[in-house]
């Protein structure tokens, strides 16, 4: 891979910003743990997007100033949050009714792996000694109108995370619609992964070399 030195992978902030630009005004959006929590910072000022937290919030605002914390307000990661004007609070059965009923326009999750058929694995590894935890990941994956994944294109060791079949336990089957990585943006279609966008300096072949499933070029229209 001779061109490696010219590739400019997106950093974490750029990844979040790249995804944020594709969220239109008016969407109701749930963000998973980790990388996705950076997204709100990159929604353009004045574009109203309503953020949902599965513990019963619509209309989450930015992190509060230290002296303005209401400790009765937390998000799904149990961090203190603020509410924007127009926010509403509700209980867990209602909140997951919203999720399961397909009322969220978008859910963005991190993942270990995404398969070309839309399978997602993000809740458990194959190390059997870990105490398992799933939280709301399966509900969000199975229920949201659209599931996008935001993750590094490969593991730290360079192994692909976009694969033909997930090797880790599934969170849900055939649900991922799009993947944003530090190297590319890909739609998950009936044919498999279709490349919509690539990091500067990256060739299609170089991307393919870092991917565990066959990539398709976007059909020219």
């Amino acid at each position: 891979m001779t061109a490696t030195q010219d590739i400019k992978p997106l950093n974490r902030q750029q990844m979040a910003a790249r995804l944020a630009q594709d969220i239109p005004e008016g969407w109701y959006v749930n963000l998973g743990l980790g990388l996705p929590t950076l997204i709100p910072d990159y929604i353009p000022a004045g574009r109203e997007v309503v953020f949902h937290s599965e513990n019963g919030v619509l209309g989450m605002g930015p992190v509060p100033a230290k002296d303005k914390i209401d400790t009765w307000l937390v998000n799904a990661t149990k961090q203190n949050i603020t509410l924007v004007p127009g926010a509403s609070l509700f209980h867990h059965a209602d909140s997951f009714g919203m999720i399961r009923g397909g009322h969220l326009d978008l859910c963005v999750l991190g993942a270990y792996e995404v398969a070309e058929n839309g399978d997602i694995a993000n809740w458990a590894t194959n190390e059997n000694d870990a105490i398992p935890a799933v939280g709301g990941a399966m509900d969000l994956s199975a229920g949201s109108k659209r599931l996008w994944v935001l993750m590094e294109h490969t593991t730290k060791e360079g192994a692909p995370r976009l694969v033909t079949r997930c090797s880790y336990p599934l969170t849900a089957a055939s649900v991922v619609k799009r993947v944003y990585t530090n190297l590319a943006v890909l739609d998950v279609t009936a044919e498999g992964f279709v490349v919509l966008d690539m990091a500067p300096g990256l060739s299609f072949d170089a991307l393919q070399a870092r991917t565990g499933a066959k990539l398709h070029r976007i059909a020219k229209s």
Partner: protein, 226 residues
């Protein structure tokens, strides 16, 4: 800016198609959106299925809709007192009636809203209304399986609303409204009062705006004394 407010009833109901399943809020006339019903008539949409607890008790608009002949089916728990317009069409076989226990209507709509395709209930077991339904025993008791009731349109009456579609209801005007508001592809709200975003207490909002598509403010009269 998210702004679900529309200027008038016609805009609120734009695009309602023939063959729609329409959830109609209200218990009797209380909480029943009269002006939206009039607007539904004005759309001229035909072959409608109306889901409503009553057949028009205390309401002028619902019997008027029946009289247009554009309702092919009523799903209802208590079609009494029966408006003559409904009774005539029913006797003539021109309108179908699906009689469903009141709590089963509410739960079927809630199931649709919450992504539950089917559930089991003890209501109607061993009765005419349970006949032909799949039954199953859990812990020694029989239950019938009921399916989610999805809809194309919900017509809702709120008391207060903001531009995001957050709603509160007044008194027993709540009834089916919050449940129906969650279960339709297009949820249309008539509200007595429009308030600024942030004026409704987050802890006291009855219907979060995520479920609402359009809001029209109407100075509708209070329900008549009864």
């Amino acid at each position: 800016m998210i702004d679900k407010r529309v200027a008038n009833v016609a805009d609120a109901l734009a695009g309602v198609k023939d063959g729609s399943v329409v959830l109609l809020g209200g218990f009797g006339v209380v909480g029943q959106p009269q002006e939206l019903l009039e607007g539904l008539i004005a759309t001229g949409a035909r072959d409608l299925t109306i889901v409503s607890n009553n057949a028009g008790f205390g309401s002028a608009a619902l019997p008027k809709l029946f009289a247009t002949g554009r309702v092919s089916k009523l799903l209802c728990s208590f079609p009494r007192p029966t408006p003559p317009a409904f009774e005539e069409l029913y006797r003539a076989g021109k309108i179908k009636l699906e009689l469903v226990p009141q709590g089963t209507i509410a739960e079927r709509i809630r199931a649709a809203a919450c992504g539950i395709p089917a559930f089991y209930t003890p209501t109607s077991v061993g009765t005419r209304l349970g006949e032909g339904k799949e039954t199953r025993e859990f812990d020694g008791r029989l239950y019938v399986m009921e399916r989610a009731l999805h809809a194309d349109v919900a017509l809702i009456q709120a008391w207060r609303a903001d531009r995001w579609g957050n709603l509160t209801y007044r008194g027993t005007g709540r009834n089916f409204n919050p449940v129906m508001a969650m279960a339709a592809s297009l949820t249309v709200v008539q509200t007595r009062h429009l308030v600024e975003l942030g004026e409704l207490e987050p802890e006291s909002i009855h219907t979060p705006g995520i479920f609402v598509n359009r809001v029209v403010q109407i100075d509708s009269p209070d329900p008549p004394p009864a």
